[in-house]
């Protein structure tokens, strides 16, 4: 309404979080982790990719810590866990497969990332309150 943050913006942040998490590690053998541990060569490129991924993770984690904090992350994790439980109970999700279990956990992490990136926008849209970063008294998060 005021900054044009809508469901699509939230979806894009969520998809970007999923891509970031799954690109770093996923149980299907096509991720940065597998590239580093299995293939030889390309060391310089691997270091470059490591720095880039680390930056993205730090930015996302700090945004999440600032906007929703440990309480919000806990609530989000509990909600995702309950959704997973519901899907398991409905026989949609088979977590007996260890790869599927890992993927579920990674998607939960991605959901927390996505909400962490979006919550400041959502709060601003709903209530007009603005989250801020104190750069004068620089805090850890």
């Amino acid at each position: 309404m005021h900054n044009g943050f809508n469901w699509l913006s939230y979806g894009l942040r969520w998809v970007a979080s999923i891509l970031l998490v799954l690109a770093t590690y996923n149980p299907y053998g096509l991720s940065y982790y597998d590239w580093v541990t299995t293939d030889g060569g390309f060391t310089s490129l691997k270091v470059l990719a490591a720095v880039a991924l680390l930056m993205l993770h730090i930015v996302t984690i700090l945004s999440t810590a600032r906007s929703i904090g440990p309480i919000g992350a806990g609530l989000m994790a509990a909600f995702c866990g309950a959704v997973a439980w519901f899907l398991v109970d409905a026989d949609v999700l088979q977590i007996e497969d260890p790869r599927m279990f890992e993927l579920t956990v990674l998607l939960m992490v991605a959901a927390i990332y996505g909400m962490g990136l979006s919550w400041s926008h959502i709060r601003n849209e709903l209530s007009g309150q603005v989250h801020s970063i104190d750069v004068t008294d620089f805090s850890a998060v």
């Binding site: 919000g72 509990a78 519901f86 709903l126 209530s127 603005v130 801020s132 970063i133």
Partner: protein, 143 residues
């Protein structure tokens, strides 16, 4: 990023109505005396346990978020102001002779309506403050 320097025009009626409706849906969805609410559903045997836990956590998180946002904008003074306004409107209607003061019947619905009004106005308030005086409600970085 939210535009801190900007002071965009607002549509007060739709702004307040949307947020008030959202809060009313949340409050009345969680509990109302008609027997069709989250409270009654959770205590009944319909629906599986995982679904109930899922909806419970969602409603808890949504309520916590809404109450925190409303209270951050209003504080105790705002709550007292809204309640005074509601009480004043009752007195005014009594004064107009629409009904006697003894006839005022405060039911559960009335209380729920008051709660949703407080939450709705609280959530909308910082938009009005920004439009009126140009001051923004800014949250500090958590320590």
């Amino acid at each position: 990023m939210p535009d801190l320097a900007g002071n965009p025009p607002i549509k007060p009626v739709s702004l307040l109505a949307k947020r008030w409706l959202m809060c009313a849906a949340l409050v009345f969805g969680i509990y109302n005396p008609s027997g069709r609410s989250y409270y009654h559903w959770v205590r009944s045997d319909d629906g599986s346990l995982p679904l109930k836990v899922m909806i419970s956590i969602f409603l808890f998180a949504a309520t916590a978020a809404v109450v925190r946002m409303a209270f951050a904008s209003m504080g105790y003074r705002g709550v007292v102001a809204i309640l005074s306004l509601i009480f004043g409107s009752i007195l005014f209607r009594v004064g107009l002779g629409w009904f006697e003061f003894e006839q005022v019947d405060i039911t559960t619905y009335t209380i729920l309506l008051w709660i949703s009004t407080i939450l709705g106005v609280g959530i909308s308030w910082s938009f009005f403050q920004r439009r009126l005086s140009g001051e923004k409600y800014v949250l500090k970085t958590p320590p």
